[in-house]
């Protein structure tokens, strides 16, 4: 669901716009709407989520209607329409992963972070959610963290603890 929670103007840096321009060269003339998904990924990587003002700006850049951006961001699960933790732990919850302990991993993450699925920790560092099959079933259980979407495979509760602690220490 799209809820407008942020109305503050944002600006796209020169570097970001340069990357947008490069993406446009990949498609035939007049087919620039194809750049929408790659551009939204860059926006999310930059701001941590995709706010309504950001979507409006993307629409203006691509000369399309804002609704054309909204209908895309509400369809694809990767785009966050609310602010998230700096690190979003996305844990695969689909069949093959659950056969080897994905549900236990999610319970452990909830306990370790002290927040429920979709919530952000007080320090703003973490949020987590279950996602559908990440195509790493042979290395299950598995989670990934954006914006690079690095995969963490063969998870154990110890590995999850070490990962969370490592990310926490990065802050300092």
């Amino acid at each position: 669901m799209l809820k407008v929670t942020e109305t503050q103007e944002i600006t796209f840096s020169k570097e970001l716009l340069k990357q947008f321009d490069e993406i446009l060269t990949r498609y035939p003339e007049g087919k620039h709407k194809s750049a929408l998904l790659p551009i939204l990924h860059l926006v999310q990587a930059e701001f941590g989520w995709v706010s309504t003002p950001a979507m409006d700006k993307v629409a203006a850049y691509l000369h399309i209607l804002p609704i054309e951006v909204y209908e895309v961001t509400t369809f694809y699960t990767m785009f966050f329409l609310q602010p998230q933790g700096k690190y979003v732990l996305e844990v695969c919850r689909t069949g093959p992963c659950t056969l080897v302990g994905a549900e236990k991993m999610m319970q452990h993450i909830e306990k370790k972070l002290g927040v429920k699925e979709g919530e952000v920790t007080k320090d703003g560092l973490f949020s987590w959610r279950g996602v559908e099959c990440l195509a790493a079933c042979g290395m299950a259980p598995v989670l990934q963290i954006g914006p690079d979407y690095t995969y963490y495979e063969h998870l154990t509760t110890e590995k999850v603890d070490a990962l969370v602690d490592e990310l926490k220490s990065k802050k300092a």
Binding site: R26, P28, K31, K33, S34, A35, L36, L37, P38, L40, H41, E68, E71, V72, F75, Y76, T77, M78, F79, R93, T94, G95, P96, T98, L99, V100, V131, E132, C133, L134, A135, A136, C137, G138, M139, A140, Q144, G146, P147, D148, Y149, T150, Y151
Partner: protein
């Protein structure tokens, strides 16, 4: 004899780089095709090879290519489907990560065959690391003159781009993928027109799976006839199998089609049997959407013959006692796995991933999820089991795209083969919440023996 046509050099250090890939004979297929063969010759070789689409449908690739319309003055496109999202399937990610140039080389040869001057690899957005790997490989190939203008002096031009998805299983369906590539929601299109006539931006388009395109390289190097000698019957060549679940050695294996299921599960060369000395209860052989089979039926057909890893043998017996090779997502369940819980999990997946265009799928997947949830959590009634069969029947065949079938088959097959386990959940909710039904009569009829292979 187990031949490897895709992963032969996978263990060579640095095979992800152009330099090492070339030393192992890489890009020979591009040289051969562009210098010695016409586009029609390439299509003919692929037809001769008998290669069938490796994404799940198993449609002959050469025939798909020959349907491509070639109207004057209109661009044609090849789009590689790297939206690998079928639960249990992770072979394309493995291939792109470890040997990206095999896909790039296949894309160049295939694009040449189809007369495409711009091609795209549509990769699911979650695979951002693989997108970076492919972009690097494309830059290397371009610097070496295998992409761009006048490739190897042949007069043929090709630009190749990687396009990220946004997290949607449905975009693995080719017309949804095309919609997504156009920057829209991934709603499948009504066919006809087929993409071969009107695909990306209304232009003739071929969409092929990563593994199919990679297979074109060895077909061109060795010839379609040679490729057709590998495998069994109409299941020619090799297939990447993604093995997951309760196996001792899960992972990606390249098998020659026709290998016995028993050997695949129990031999040390492949999965090494079940993990932790448990016994096999059931297998989903081709990705989550194909019918689940109990151990006895996956190992042997009802005629008592060994079940083989081939399109035909896995389908033997139809849906009554058989299944499908699908994408090769091989998920093994041990004696502790709960079939009801797993079926509920799959239904939740399909409900989550339904695009919502067609009512039978949008509503039906939601109902199946709800009913399975109450069965799993001890609130089910006996009538729920037949209700599920009824809902599944009403989804199947009544939707624009195959997602409806993919959602219906796992539910229908689980009840077909494991009805007593569903009934046990209704009769003994308190037991079902605490424990599992176990192996019952589905037990693997064979002791977990190690099959000797040469």
């Amino acid at each position: 004899m187990a031949r490897k046509l895709l992963l032969e050099h996978i263990d060579v250090a640095g095979i992800n780089t152009l330099e090492v890939y070339r030393k192992q004979g890489g890009y020979r297929a591009v040289e051969k095709a562009l210098k010695k063969l016409s586009p029609e010759d390439v299509v003919d070789e692929v037809k001769k090879s008998g290669l069938r689409g490796r994404g799940g449908a198993g449609f002959p690739t050469g025939m798909k290519w020959s349907f491509l319309a070639k109207p004057e003055g209109k661009a044609r496109y090849l789009v590689c489907n790297a939206d690998e999202s079928e639960p249990g399937t992770f072979k394309d990610r493995y291939l792109m990560t470890n040997i990206p140039h095999l896909l790039i080389e296949g894309m160049i040869v295939s694009s040449y065959a189809l007369g495409a001057n711009t091609s795209y690899i549509y990769v699911r957005g979650e695979m951002m690391p693989q997108i970076r790997i492919l972009e690097k490989a494309i830059a290397e190939a371009k610097a070496a003159g295998f992409l761009g203008k006048n490739i190897l002096g042949s007069g043929y031009d090709l630009e190749l781009y990687v396009q990220p998805g946004g997290g949607a299983y449905i975009c693995g369906e080719e017309t949804a993928l095309i919609e997504s590539l156009e920057g829209k929601r991934g709603n499948p299109r009504i066919k006809p027109p087929f993409p071969a006539i009107s695909g990306v931006w209304g232009c003739p388009t071929v969409v092929n799976n990563v593994e199919s395109i990679a297979a074109v390289v060895s077909i061109i190097n060795d010839g379609g006839d040679e490729y057709a000698k590998v495998g069994i019957g109409r299941s020619t060549g090799t297939k990447l199998i993604s093995a997951s679940g309760n196996l001792a050695k899960p992972g990606v294996y390249e098998i020659e089609l026709g290998l016995s299921v028993e050997e695949f599960i129990y031999s040390e060369k492949y999965c090494g049997g079940m993990a932790n000395g448990k016994r096999l209860k059931a297998v989903v052989a081709g990705g989550s959407s194909v019918p689940i089979l109990p151990a006895n039926l996956i190992l042997k057909t009802t005629n008592g013959e060994n079940r083989l890893m081939s399109y035909e043998s896995l389908a033997d017996g139809g849906f009554a006692t058989g299944t499908m090779l699908g994408s090769g997502g091989f998920i093994a369940f041990d004696e502790d796995a709960c079939i009801v819980r797993n079926t509920w999990n799959y239904s939740r997946f399909y409900h989550h991933e339904s695009c919502g265009q067609c009512s039978p799928c949008r509503e039906g997947t939601g109902w199946m999820e709800k009913v399975l949830h109450r069965l799993e959590y001890g609130h089910g009634a006996m009538s729920d089991i037949d209700l599920l069969v009824d809902v599944a029947k009403n989804i199947e065949g009544n939707t624009i795209c195959p997602l409806g079938d993919a959602a219906a088959w796992p539910v229908a097959s689980a009840i077909r083969h494991f009805r007593d386990e569903f009934e046990w959940h209704v009769k003994h909710p308190e037991k079902a919440l605490k424990g599992n039904y176990g192996l019952a009569h589905y037990a693997d009829p064979l002791p977990p023996v190690v099959v000797e292979t040469v």
